[in-house]
Amino acid sequence: MNTRAFIPFGIFICMIGLFAVPLLQGKDPAILPSAMIGKQVPEFTLPMATGDGKLATADMLHEGKPFLVNFFASWCVTCKGEQQVLAKFTQKTGIAVYGIDYKDTKKDVAAWLERHGNPFRATGFDEAGRIAIDFGVYGVPETFLVGGDGIIRYKHVGALKQSDMDSVFGPLLEKTK
């Protein structure tokens, strides 16, 4: 028997292994790592999505406590389910959630918050999506955990599920306090 004949077969098995690992881990290649983790939360001032006034970075930082920043839009179908999850999280932990409404209209977002619940302490209105770029956002919804020191600790891409809060945000927040 020529053992060298098995070399291509061996390579083939290695390739299968190489492809199988990420598949079995269930990693979504569309989810990109955030370059903003470990950096200071971007400086911005936005008009409020509902009512008058403005939301600025300083408003979120002045308490010196960790908070969440959630990018959403009324036209975003997967964003609906998050509202309850976020509301529950703020009730349980007492930390603030700030919303940033991405490329929306004020009329639509007011109706949407009315209908699906409003867990936000305040909601900024990012009509042009410019602030989203500063946060490195590439789609909605995305959710950031920011420490009281203003350093971004974590980013979640996609709709938040209760299990994300229990297994990731909850434990991270414990460490952040």
Binding site: L32, P33, A35, A128, G129, I133, D134, G136, Y138, G139
Partner: protein, 131 residues
């Protein structure tokens, strides 16, 4: 006649650009720079395309941002760094050379060297011809 017309029409047609007319800068030199930079930036939504050829909304936003930065006086590398700071190395079509990517950039060379090794072994084993 139809064939002639077809050829003329094909020659006259211009490729459809993702860059919208209202995005284009008045200064042609700056616009060329913007196009060059756009070709080096990956569209984060479509992933396989650069932002110069992508029709995604975010790609358009970043194209505009690139032009804004250029108008504000940024150098080409400063504009690229500005986007990279927010979106990471992934946003660059050419990943930067650094320890984490040495293997990536070195892989073609390694494969070439391995090929030389195999070829050398094979040639050595060939029966020697008459000299």
């Amino acid at each position: 006649m139809k064939k002639v017309l077809l050829v003329i029409l094909l020659l006259l047609s211009i490729p459809a650009l993702a860059v919208q007319p209202d995005e284009i800068l008045k200064d042609p030199v700056m616009e060329t720079r913007a196009r060059d930079i756009s070709k080096q930036l990956r569209c984060l939504v479509c992933q396989g395309e650069d932002i110069d050829e992508s029709n995604a909304g975010l790609a358009g936003d970043i194209r505009k941002l690139v032009r804004e930065r250029l108008v504000a006086g940024d150098s080409d590398t400063a504009v690229l760094a500005f986007v990279q700071e927010r979106y990471g190395d992934y946003v660059l079509m050419n990943p930067p050379v650094k320890p984490a990517t040495w293997l990536l950039w070195g892989a073609p060379l390694l494969v070439l060297l391995a090929g030389f090794g195999v070829a050398l072994r094979y040639l050595r084993r060939l029966p020697k011809g008459d000299e």
